[in-house]
Every structure is written in C-alpha cells, then in structure tokens.
C-alpha cells in the first residue's frame, strides 16, 4: 500500500504478492508495468532520464491513489515510480491493485495510470543519436484522463 519513488528497479511479482498477502477478501490482483521503449517519435532512444519534483510528487501520487479508492471498490493500491537514468526495456512504473473482483481492480489500475500521466510531476529526457531532448506531453494522455470525467488537470494561469 502506498506510493514509492526510487532509483532502484522493482520486482512486479514480489510487490503484487506482498500487496495481496494476508488479505483473503482479494479475488483479483491487477498489475500494470510501464517500460522504456527503444524508439520514440521515430528516433532511436539510448537512455531515458527521469526527474521529478520531490515533495510534490509524493503528494500528487497519494492524492491520485485516494481518489481511486473513493471511486472504485478495491482493497489495496501500490504505485512505484522510478527516477534517474533508465535503458530500453527497463521498468519505469508499477501500479498494483487488489480487489474482491476484477472489474473494479482493472478500472482502478487504469484510472491511476491515466491520472498519473497528467498530474504527477515527472519529466522524461531522452538521449538520441541527434542529442538530448525533453519528451513532449501527449494530447492522447489528456484525453485518457478526461475519459474518467471531471477535470483531468489543473490548467496553468
């Protein structure tokens, strides 16, 4: 349960097992693992460096988890997000949800990822053959968050 920001890799199966452990009301464990791709917008990606805004990141992720727990009938939610330099194939983010039934657990997992994409203060910088570049935000991520209704992101002034 909870949120973690770390440089170290994670073991998705071990985390899911620990989340379910001792809770016999659980009939469904849903995990999502996001990984680094080796190509983005047509260019080869060597490494990816993730930075965040310490202090706000934890708060933002906790708020997303709280909102998911209000919206969906689930038992436990865990979010792990890595920071630092990662290579293609490396896991970046884990969302694990336990619940009595699969429907709510699937929905809660997707909701947390969709909101994390638009609300949690992480930024990716890619190393490509033509130099380093900050990754641009995608309109499709905003649309995915809006699917859940309400205000997907606080707009700037």
């Amino acid at each position: 349960m909870g949120v973690r920001i770390q440089e170290a890799p994670f073991d998705a199966q071990a985390e899911a097992d620990a989340l379910r452990e001792g809770d016999f009301d659980v009939g469904a464990v849903v995990t999502f693992t996001g990984t680094v791709r080796d190509v983005n917008d047509g260019d080869a990606v060597g490494t990816l460096t993730l930075e965040h805004y310490p202090g706000m990141t934890e708060k933002a992720l906790e708020a997303i988890v709280d909102e998911a727990r209000e919206r969906f009938d689930v038992r436990r939610i865990l979010v792990i997000h890595r920071v630092g330099t990662l290579a293609p194939g490396d896991p970046i983010v884990l969302v694990a949800v336990t619940g009595a039934h699969r429907g709510e657990a699937f929905d809660a997992c997707r909701f947390v990822m969709d909101y994390l994409k638009t609300r949690a203060p992480f930024w990716k910088k890619e190393r490509t053959p033509s130099g380093d570049r900050w990754v641009d935000a995608r309109a499709s991520d905003d649309e995915a968050a809006r699917r859940w209704g309400g205000d997907s992101s606080a707009d700037g002034p």
Partner: protein, 93 residues
Amino acid sequence: MRGSPDLATSVVKLVFLARLREALGTSHERFAVAGPTTVGAIRAALIERGGAWSAELANGRAVRVAVNHELATGTTAVAPGDEVAFLPPVTGG
C-alpha cells in the same frame, strides 16, 4: 526554506523544473514580495524580465504552477514563505 525571519516574511521561493530550469538557466530563486500576492502577479513580473522569461512563461505557454506542492491557477493566493513552482507539462509513466 524558512531559515531566517526576514526570509519568511518578505520572500517567496520560486522553483523551475525540467525543461524550464534549463531554458531559464536556474533551478530556484528567492523572489521578493511586498506582502500577499497571486500566482498570476508573480508570473507577470517574471515575464517582464523579457528574453527567455517572457518566451517561456508567456500566457498561452503550457506551463503549470504549483503553490506549496499543490497545482494552482493564476488567481491562487501566494504568501511570503510559500514555494511557487513552474512546471512544464508532465511526461511520467
């Protein structure tokens, strides 16, 4: 952040993250305020500096602002001692 009394009573800490930090050439600064103000007023004062400041923070640019780690809008109140962060669109996950 509130290391000395005068800092807490007359200064706001500004934080610039990721692409904005690089474009503006600074990660943070102590910004003097006369008293309670707003996010919009601080942003307007930074835009007045011209150059990269006006280019990066101009109204219409996709910049979000957080006050004390909570997403804010232009009308959000800012008091001396607060931390105001300027964030490019997020790209985690």
